[in-house]
Every structure is written in C-alpha cells, then in structure tokens.
Symmetry: C2
Subunit: 530 residues, 2 copies
C-alpha cells in the first residue's frame, strides 16, 4: 500500500504517476493515500474549443441545467435553455415575504414572512464533502456560513417514551452509552466474549467502556455529578457561594431504549449528515440566483416542452408557452435534458427503448416542508436551543431551528415540519392551511405554550403537488440501479440527461451538479468527435 | 411532580408560585419543569439604590473585575479599578498583528499575523449554556458567530495506533460503534445478559445494536457500502456514468481500540464541550473591549497592588506604578478583589486565616497555546476540514482550525497547540521559538507537507509564564472544594473575591462573570445593611 511509504517516497511516486498516467492515475493514487476520498470532484471541467457555430439546447433551468449551460457557454457553444416555470433555480429555491407558491389543484399561498426571513423549501444544507457545490459557490461569489447540524441541547420526542415528554438529546445519548457500556462490561467480566476478543483487547475494552460510558469505579452507570458533567445537571454549576451543581437523574435502560435515541446518533453519523455543514447566507436560492446571473440571458421561461426529437444532424424540442399559448420549436446540434424523470416520462422523447424504460422506472419521493414564522426566537431565549433539530416520531418528523440570525429579536422562521414517506403523503393530502395546523399541533410537543402565543404565519411546500416535478427527488433502489442507471446516464445519439436523478448523490444538489459536469464533459467529447 | 401536570395547570401553578414566592420560588419551580436547568443565570442583578457617596475599589480589570465595576457603577457606587497590566481584559485576550507578549524571564514576542487574523490565547469558545456571558455579549453589542466544535472529518492521531498515521474521526467512531454493537449482539444472543436485561429490552437492544452499529443482517460489522454511508467511501459517490461509490475498509477491533477514539466521543459529550458553541466575531477579546468601553474611565493601568487592608470603616490597597515607580494608596468603603489566587497568595491581605488558607490552597493549572499563521487554508482546500479539532496524544494535544473566514484565500491562523498538564510544562519550559518548532514538528503528523511549505510565523502563550497570573486557571479538587470553597467565596468584612476561581465553572469565562454577579449582589446587600 502507498500509505506505508515514507512521505518523500510518496511524493516522488505521485510526481511519477502524474507524469506517466495523467490526471486519472494521479487521482487514483491520491485516493489510496487518503487525500481525495471525500469527493470525485477535482475541479471544473475546463472545456474549450467547441466547433464554430455548434449549439446545445438545455432543458430545465435548475442547477444541473444552468451549470451545463454555463460550462458549455464558456467552451464556446451557442446555448439556449427552456424552462417550464416562471422562475429559475428549480428545487434550489428560497421563499421570502411576498413570494407565491401554487400547487396542483390550484391552491396558492403567498408568503407572509418579514423582510430578511426565509424558508428553503428544498435543499437547505451543504455537507463539507459536496465539493462541486462548494466550488461553484466560490466561483460565483455565493457567501457561505456554517449550518448547525448537531445540537446536543435539542429535543428527541417519541410518543411511546417518557409519557410523550421530549427529552434533551444530550441526556438520552449519555444514558444510552452508559447503559450499553455497563452491560458490555458485565458481559466481558463474565467471560462471555472470551472466544471473540483477545485478552489484551478485553482489557482495553473495559477501559473504553468505563470512560465512554461515564461508569463509576464499579463499572456501574448511575446518577452522579460525573455523569451530569455530560448529560447536564439538575441545577447547573454557577459562581460564588451557591455555585455548587446538583446531579440530574439518569433514565433507566428501558426508558432510554423506548426513545430510540440510537436512530439520532446514527443520523448524525451518516456521511451526508456529518459536520461541518454550510448554507448560503440569505437562503439556498442564492446559488440558483448566482447561476442565473451568468446564464439568465440564455433562458426562455414559461416554456413547456411537449416533444423531444433527434436525427443524425441535430435535436429539437417542441414547446408551448404556458402563459400565451404560443408554440414553437427549438433546435440545436445537441441537447442536455435536465427535466425530472417524473415529468420526462410523460413527454414523447426520441431515445432508445432502454433509456425510455429507465426514465419510466424512476418513482419520485414525496416530501413536505412547512415554514412557521414566530414572533420571537423563544427556542433560543427560553429553551437555549441555537440551531439544530428536534426529532419526533410524528408525521412531521422534525422541526429545525435557524442557523443564522442567532440572538436577534423580532420574528424568525422555524422549519416546522420536514416529512417523508407516509408522513409526507398525509401532509400533502391536506390543504396548505391544514398542513400548517398539523405542523403547529405536532410541533407543540416541543414548545407547547409558544406554539400558541408566538405563531404569526406559515407556508408549506408539498413537493408531490408541484406540477413541474411532482415529487421531491428520484428514488433509486439497488435493483433499479443495476437495471437502469447506465441506460439513463449514457449519451443517446445527441441527447444526454443530467440532474440529481442521474447521480449516486440522489436528492442532493451535489448529485445534480456532479451529473451536469459529467454530462457536459461527455457531450463535448462526443461533439468534437462527431 | 410538576412535570406530570397538564400545561394549563402548570401555567396557573407557575403564576401562583410567582406571585406568592417571588423569583427564587419561580426559578425552582421552572427547574422542576425542565425549563431552566441549563444555567443558574436568570438575568442581570438589577442592583440599585447605593447609599450616597458609597464607594467600591475593584482589583483587576479582567471580565470579573470589569463586570463588577459595571454593575456597581449602575447601582450608584463610586468605583475605581486597579489593573496590574498595561491592558484590560485579563485572560479575555485576542492577539493580533503588532501585539506583543512578554513573559517571565523577559522573552518578548511580537505577533506577525496579517490584518484580520488573530489568536485567542485564552478563552476561545462559549457553550450554549454559558448564559451569563451570552447575555452580556448581547447587552454590550458583541457580535457572535458559531464556533465549529465537532468536525467528523478532522483527524485523530495516536502514536501507538495505525503506525502513527492519523485517521478521520468519522471512520474511527463508526468502527468503534460497529465493533461494540457486534460484540454486544453476541453477548445478548448467547444469553449472557439474561439476568441483567428483560426479554423485551433484549429484543429492543438487538434492534438498537444493529442500527446503531450499522451491522448487517447477521449482526456482523463488516466492510460494505452500508457502513461506508457513515464512515465515508474509498471512492465517493458522484454523478453520471462513473458515479458509483466503492466502500472503504473498516478497521479491526484491535486497531480501533488502539486509537482510544472513545476519548474523543466522550470529549464531545462533555456538557461544556457540546454544540452549539459561539465565538465573538473578530476574537474573544471583543468582550473585554466592550466592557472596557463601559468602565475604561474607572481603570488605572500598570498598577501593582502590594498590600490590602481593611478596618471597620473601609478598605485600602497600596500600589506601585509598574512604569514610573510611583506609589500610592487607593481607599474605598468596599472591595471586590479579582486578583488570581496565584498572585493574591503573595500579597499581604487583611482577611481571616480561613480565607488566607483558601487563597493559598489553590494551585493554578499550566496551559500553553501556539498560534501558527499559514500561507493558505490548506486544511480546507486539500483536507476538506472546516473548523473543529484534530487530536493527538503528543504534548501539543490538538490543533484547531478556524471557525471564521471559511473558504477565504490568503494567510490564516491555526491553533497549533493547546497543551495541558505535562505537555504544557514541557512547552512552557522552552523558548517561544522552540515552542513553535515543537508545534510545527508535532502538528506535521496531520499535514506533513503543508507544515513545511505553508508556515509563515507564530506566537505562543505559556500561561505559567505570565507574571500577572502564573497559570491558566485555578485547579480545584473535591477535597479543596470541601475545605476551602465557602471560605474563599464568603464576604470577609468589607472584602469579597470574584473570578473563575470563585465558581463551579472554573477555567471558563462563565465562572468569572457568574461569580462577579454573585459577589456584587452580596456586597450590595452587605453595603445597604452596614
């Protein structure tokens, strides 16, 4: 393994590989050295030398479409983008006061937030390893700030635990570790694991369990100041004559297990959920807005594509103007199609049967978000919760506290629901008003009094009821991946698809932009060899 | 328990208690309701009505001294502050380019950082429950930003594990949980814990272990994409035709235990180390600077106190001007003494034997910080580490990456060492130049090439060599607390002590300010009853 080499040897070797095998070999070697494993992104594609007059038609002005257009434009192509909505950005979207949301069925909401407040109804956080998104934020001047993902002082609510009373994350995590450590210590000391673990590792495990579980000298997990130094106190430490703290009571193993706290511990350890995370200052929509500054002049809005064709010489998209009813045909040498598969499946497209099957094989997930504007940041002033999420086993799934504007006065916006699966179907089936009622009712387990006294207004986004996507994002399974993924991603004649659905980072912006870079790189190569 | 009452009943009860028993009863009731346990702070003391002409002499212009002066001034006292140093703030200190640090022995360092860069040589982060500090930041207009505490992508280095090669935090944590879960599953399935755990809890524990440990369906922890979805991949997911990820190899139980990763897991679960954390924008020194704006006109700098006396009518402090040699005596009705016990123990003070014994019983911890300015943020651009800490078992203990200025170009400052105990003694015994050499040598385990090619300049702070404190903070033990704490905190005639050493949040700014509030509240009461 390269890892075992001395640094100087490794550097020489890397230089040698770089010269001999080019970037791909270099990349592979660096991965082996543990330097590049966080991302496949190794910089923008640096396309250039498009044939004179060559053109590309891009369908969809979300991140994948606009990034495709941006890089193809820089490479020298004539680019046009057709967009169904009357706005750019796609799922990259920030709702601010005065914005409207219209859904299938006709219900229209007008956002009532105060100036400066917002809700990201779609993507809202960027993990540290989503380097493609982070790169373009830098390139386009989108300012980033930390997104507080893990907050040990937020709540966990399980309707079947603690009589429905939410518990602080820190208390349940410490209790879970403590009870597991105590039981593990018992098993080890009874000799139960003697065949599985060496004598040496047994000794180390006992030390690990004692420290990791905050056990006492008898390997017992019990109420004490030592344990309260982690889970928090009944009376916190202070200054002066009455400064002494008092310990908080630990929960029993049984109660702790009822909370299912291991699900939250696991959640925060998901690679895509880990810290450090970022968000654009002022809303995720800033990214789409920054792309629109670059390629906005290439975009035709309100343009519903009704048919896609191609032949040996080029591609064409028939369209209807959603506002005027005007029809037309856009033509070009090549096409990048970023229309979500859920919508594309309903449009006649001249591609192979295999690609058509792939497009039709992709169901879209349901998801609902609700934004609630509250009079004050009571979660900070009263509950001492600054950012992060409180989880529940109710349909709404979680509420999330804003990661910006800490300590400010005045109205602020909570993410009041973020439902998936069954919970999302239930909420999407309601009117916008009922969704907010449900979010207020369910969220009141965390902040009962304030949810009544501080609520101002709200807005909901039921992704399955957005006509231009009819869902939140593509749902791949192992089976559909095996059968359809390569057929979806491959270039078909003069057409290539892009978007989060054409990636292994499905449901993330990183998937959309990574797939766009891959698509335009292959298309450019195809165009030069045509 | 109040917790079991219906919300309406609880609210009525609280109103009733509030009317009948006043703030203290209200506070106690709220604690029982789980609303106020994070802190003893319930708002500024709101002192008022000092007797006409009453005066207080404050010794020391750190946070405890300046806050005492600020609140006493507002209450109507004539206040004077004597400060030994030629600056205010005490340990609340931010070093910027051009600043100098002189230590016992005469060595003077001039900070070479570029404009905007800084090192907080003392306190540097504020936990969410340090509500007294957070309150005064708001009151005095100190802007706060999130401090990134937990970064799953930072490193853990143990010289006795992995051949000395640092591992990513996420990899070791996932491997630790996985191996512990697998072993626990074995013990449960063998019936080893049947006497300790009910049948029902056994079933729940097995589910918990499988999910928490990312075990496979056979309850085994093994290399897989499922596990890589947590610990990270050998090849990360991407977009388009080559988007498929490949799994990373898990480490063995033995190797994982050698890393002592449970210490880091435990560290991040310490109540004072939990998220969410904050830091003042521009450096922790902004807090001291904000207090100095309020009480700067009351402060005499460069004033070494040589003797403290009191009698039935008042207090006096004899002093020598450290620059001019001038001597004098400051007198007042009362005194708040915030001089660190390490220094106070060497000054004749007219207090009881018990208080003198308490002052002398307090050793001060050693601590060394090193700041390293680097040409670029290579930890971000190359290692994808944004804030957080990389830990090592070497003397330097950790390096920490800045929580502000993410993605910026140009020079940036790393905390290049934060040593305690033996490590701190070793580093404090060196010249400032040698300390930086040691930090560069030890830190190069994490970033070997960049520590050679990117280093610009550095500065170190050996707290034991700062003449005005001779240590980092007071080290209480259970024994010394029992014997001396109340004697230290009690009012002695007309003198009261304040500072982190007079608190149960020792070594934290919260302790200093909480003790100051307690001290001035008691002193005011004493003054009114005198």
């Amino acid at each position: 393994m390269l890892n075992d080499l001395a640094p100087q040897t490794r550097r020489s070797l890397l230089t040698m590989i770089g010269k001999a095998g080019g970037a791909a070999a270099m990349y592979q070697a660096m991965t082996a050295l543990g330097h590049a494993a966080e991302t496949q992104f190794s910089g923008p594609p640096k396309l250039s030398g498009a044939r004179k007059g060559a053109s590309v038609l891009v369908l969809g002005a979300g991140l994948a479409g606009m990034l495709s257009a941006y890089e193809l434009m820089k490479a020298g192509y004539n680019v046009q983008i057709l967009e169904f909505q009357d706005r750019t950005g796609g799922r990259n979207w920030t709702l601010r006061g005065g914005d409207t949301v219209t859904e299938i069925g006709g219900a229209t909401q007008t956002v009532g937030f105060a100036p400066g407040n917002y809700l990201n109804p779609g993507p809202w956080r960027i993990p540290y390893h989503h380097q493609t998104v982070l790169h373009y934020c830098q390139e386009l001047g989108v300012e980033l700030e930390p997104f507080v993902q893990l907050n040990n002082n937020a709540f966990i609510h399980n309707s079947k635990a603690f009589g429905g009373k939410p518990q602080r994350h820190r208390e349940l995590v410490v209790d879970f570790q403590g009870h597991v450590a105590e039981l593990m210590g018992k098993a080890i000391n009874q000799g139960s694991l003697d065949t599985a673990v060496s004598k040496e590792d047994k000794e180390k495990l006992l030390v690990a369990m004692r420290e990791w579980g905050a056990l006492d000298k008898n390997m017992k997990f019990d109420t004490s100041l030592h344990v309260s130094d982690r889970r928090g106190y009944d009376r916190a430490p202070g200054g002066g004559v009455n400064g002494a703290p008092t310990p908080s009571q630990i929960n029993s193993l049984s109660d702790t297990l009822d909370s299912h706290v291991w699900q939250q511990i696991s959640f925060y350890l998901e690679y895509v959920m880990q810290q450090t995370m970022f968000q654009p200052k002022g809303g995720m929509g800033k990214i789409g807005e920054a792309f629109a500054k670059q390629v906005g002049h290439l975009i035709r809005l309100n343009t519903r594509v009704t048919k896609i064709t191609q032949n040996a010489k080029g591609v064409a998209a028939e369209w209807t103007d959603a506002k005027t009813g005007q029809t037309g045909t856009a033509a070009a040498d090549f096409m990048v199609c970023t229309i979500p598969a859920s919508v594309l499946a309903q449009i006649p497209v001249q591609v192979s049967d295999a690609k058509q099957a792939a497009i039709k094989a992709l169901p879209y997930a349901a998801s609902v978000k609700v934004g609630l504007e509250m009079k004050s940041r009571f979660w900070e002033s009263k509950y001492k919760i600054y950012g992060g999420h409180s989880f529940t086993d109710q349909a709404m799934s979680l509420i999330s506290y804003p990661s910006s504007g800490f300590f400010n006065k005045g109205p602020a916006v909570l993410l009041g629901a973020y439902a998936f699966g069954l919970g999302a179907y239930m909420l999407a089936g309601m009117t916008p008003e009922k969704r907010i009622e449900a979010a207020l009712k369910q969220g009141s387990v965390f902040h009962p009094e304030e949810y009544q006294s501080e609520y101002l207004n709200g807005v909901s986004m039921a992704w399955s009821r957005q006509p231009w996507i009819m869902g939140c994002c593509a749902e791949w399974t192992e089976e559909t991946r095996a059968k359809h993924y390569q057929n979806l991603a491959s270039i078909d004649g003069r057409i290539v698809l892009a978007g989060e659905h054409v990636s292994y980072y499905g449901c993330w912006q990183e998937g959309a932009v990574a797939s766009a870079l891959d698509a335009v790189t292959r298309l450019h190569s195809r165009a030069l060899s045509a």
